[in-house]
Symmetry: D2
Amino acid sequence: MRILFVGDVFGSAGRRIVREHLGHVVEQHEVDLLIINGENAAGGFGLTPAIADELFELGAHVITTGNHVWDKREIIEYMKSVPEDSHENPRRVIRPANYVAGTPGYGFYQGQLPSGQEYAVINLQGRVFLGSSDDPFRTADALLKQITAKVILIDFHAEATSEKAALGWYLDGRVTAVLGTHTHVPTADDRVLPGGTAYQTDVGMSGPYDSIIGVEKELVLQRFLTGMPGKFEAAKGDPRMAATLIECDGATGRASRTQRFLLGE
Amino acid sequence: MRILFVGDVFGSAGRRIVREHLGHVVEQHEVDLLIINGENAAGGFGLTPAIADELFELGAHVITTGNHVWDKREIIEYMKSVPEDSHENPRRVIRPANYVAGTPGYGFYQGQLPSGQEYAVINLQGRVFLGSSDDPFRTADALLKQITAKVILIDFHAEATSEKAALGWYLDGRVTAVLGTHTHVPTADDRVLPGGTAYQTDVGMSGPYDSIIGVEKELVLQRFLTGMPGKFEAAKGDPRMAATLIECDGATGRASRTQRFLLGE
Amino acid sequence: MRILFVGDVFGSAGRRIVREHLGHVVEQHEVDLLIINGENAAGGFGLTPAIADELFELGAHVITTGNHVWDKREIIEYMKSVPEDSHENPRRVIRPANYVAGTPGYGFYQGQLPSGQEYAVINLQGRVFLGSSDDPFRTADALLKQITAKVILIDFHAEATSEKAALGWYLDGRVTAVLGTHTHVPTADDRVLPGGTAYQTDVGMSGPYDSIIGVEKELVLQRFLTGMPGKFEAAKGDPRMAATLIECDGATGRASRTQRFLLGE
Amino acid sequence: MRILFVGDVFGSAGRRIVREHLGHVVEQHEVDLLIINGENAAGGFGLTPAIADELFELGAHVITTGNHVWDKREIIEYMKSVPEDSHENPRRVIRPANYVAGTPGYGFYQGQLPSGQEYAVINLQGRVFLGSSDDPFRTADALLKQITAKVILIDFHAEATSEKAALGWYLDGRVTAVLGTHTHVPTADDRVLPGGTAYQTDVGMSGPYDSIIGVEKELVLQRFLTGMPGKFEAAKGDPRMAATLIECDGATGRASRTQRFLLGE
Ligand SMILES: [Fe+2]
Ligand SMILES: [Fe+2]
Ligand SMILES: [Fe+2]
Ligand SMILES: [Fe+2]
Ligand SMILES: [Fe+2]
Ligand SMILES: [Fe+2]
Ligand SMILES: [Fe+2]
Ligand SMILES: [Fe+2]
């Protein structure tokens, strides 16, 4: 079985490059399960229901997010519009599971592919350099007790490499993959840990690489150079799709292979 | 002309794997200039004069460091033992140039290869998530005014991907390379920016990859899981050398190509 | 009923000044319940069993702590040496209740005064600028469900004024007092909130005020000025005891009055 | 000679309570020099030229600011509208002096009272928990070299008590006063250090104390409890003016006495 995870889609340039490449990658690599991190899909900040639907139309089974999830407020009602046991689109957009109890939306999704193959996707957020949330390690433990699927992918949206590696090792042998997001830079350390869990510190951004992590570089530079406030705008140039393919055994959930993509125009 | 930059050497496992690979990489790729980040070379924390000399014997022209530079106190006297215009080993161990004026040691080194080719190496440290230091952008500007070499490599020891990318773009066309260190994870974004500056967010650690960024993984995991204090020890397993090769024009300093290495046993 | 809370006792100078003043303050103000924050009592970093016993001999009913609690390792076994339902000294040394489940020791203590008056003391730690722990707001909610005493004092060990004020208002009317610790500087905002909860952002340090928050000022200054590492040592000069007195109704737990002390030699 | 420093004026409630009390305090205590921190005067976030002028009409000689200085963009042009040697109102609104070179506005102001008494006011910003800026210690050193006035007051806008105390001791005997701002909570540690410098960790906010550091408490609490975004609005209830009076020798600049005010309706 093959899972493709597409890293943080950033703005219209990101959506465009993903649209351009997704079809042939999915077809060529016989991808069964497609997961997209969409936290920056709407102009770089958050995602709207319309943009979520756009990503579902591209074939996404589940959309994960991160700290930018609420940047566009419409997504709140969208995510609240379905009950927990729904399988409709709004239920398939998830936010970090270790947000405080009562947060709108859900932190994981369990579904079934047409083949009958069960799978689950969990979204977690780190705490080092990234605001307060519940313990991602304990939240993972708790969720794994209720999840019955063998194939389980975790999008760990976090800043610090130490925290990401720690979660990977902590869950090695218990989930199919721990893939990092948030830094917007793909790391070259994708591999299968000894217990059978695929791991990568960060999948990287699917968006404009002629930028500073997605934003127009002059705007970010001005911020660093002057300390003066200023609006950030999504860049457009040099779009690339960053994604990672995981091959695993559908019966056991054990990963056997990872492959990185960074596809430009 | 070819420059090889070896990422943060971590502990004895890191030194061993570097010793194993450096010779053939240098020979095969006809490396002219060799730079090694040694901030974790001594048991994962700092470096000693003896270990610095060990890295020089492997062929390093310059050793860069970062926030762990003072972890072993002996290095302070070593770095202070030479005048600024020296070219002896202690002068070739540098610390971030944007540390406060009066800090022991020097923040850049300018030298000459046997061929007569001049080069300079600058070490800078980021400020996002990483303690206070002087402005790395302005420090770079100031140093570039005094440096006469055309070939200039910068080791930017920093945490945040945004700050690293910002410095890369800021110096594009003005230096040969801006290579990141500190996160201990190699990134897959090495490339030559349009102005001719080679850029990579992080070269990655040369050390034990069966670890959490170099440290025994059980020790780091315990820290994350319990919050209790505990001694960190360098791991040994799965050593790999992370390095990046830059091809550039010695006359202009413009980079033309980058190549990543992650070499295991 | 009167409660006296003594702020972070710092080193031997702090212990000495507390010993000097505590007796007459307790006697003159007819203090019924005495609580001391002891996280810095042993040389400025942590506390030992012997020093805890020393504070109990001065009349403390409960000793609270904070982020420095484990600096002296002996305290771990001491706090683990008693079962949860004990009332012996080691059970009366508490650590922040929102540390991860399984942490040695206990996060609150409920006891009875000779008069039969019941009371409880809760220790919590903030999360803004201060490392990861469980949600202090939700932890307080959960503990208040199990506590039967009406008189409840909370030592909120936290950095940010916003988080401290937020907890004070959150618990207003539900506890007798929310007193802040950790910054080592007494604040002049002690008062009774409308719901009957005494509040003060920080009680301040009981220790040497000829210092930088307790530490020899030259050592801290050198750190700020040079960025170089160096050992911190407890200062001795100008010791003062910082404490806050709360008057409350023992039957309802409502506070009626606060009074600040900053007593020197 | 007497100096009155009024802490961060917060929103309309802050402006109103200051207007109510300033006249009689200035008169009763024969205040010669009046300095107001205005970084939150406009609805809690920044200040406008009109509001700056309003504070000058109340008698302010100098308005200091801090990290919120640019929240209202109009202030940028206002501060740039005068040359460095001007003494007009826009020149008397200062921003932290350790912002990067080239930042709009000025970081200190030197003026003369009608009596002929010279004075200077310096604004600095801390770096611990508060974003990157130049070294406040070195910036102070540099400014003190150019300032000829003997009476010098520093508004140190900073978060950490350690950094504030460190600057106080560093400048003891070299300036008349180091007064902290930014935390919005007055501290009870105002005093004259041995060298003759008045010091207080934080003067506190002049604004609504029925709030969480000035903001409507329900809004801040929701943020802490849910992590969801939401607009912050200035509170109105329980306004108090927080100010500190410094008595000093105009000829030497040495302080002899401090007095705290926290005046409500
Ligand atoms: Fe993102
Ligand atoms: Fe993110
Ligand atoms: Fe390192
Ligand atoms: Fe480092
Ligand atoms: Fe403390
Ligand atoms: Fe503390
Ligand atoms: Fe303020
Ligand atoms: Fe501020």
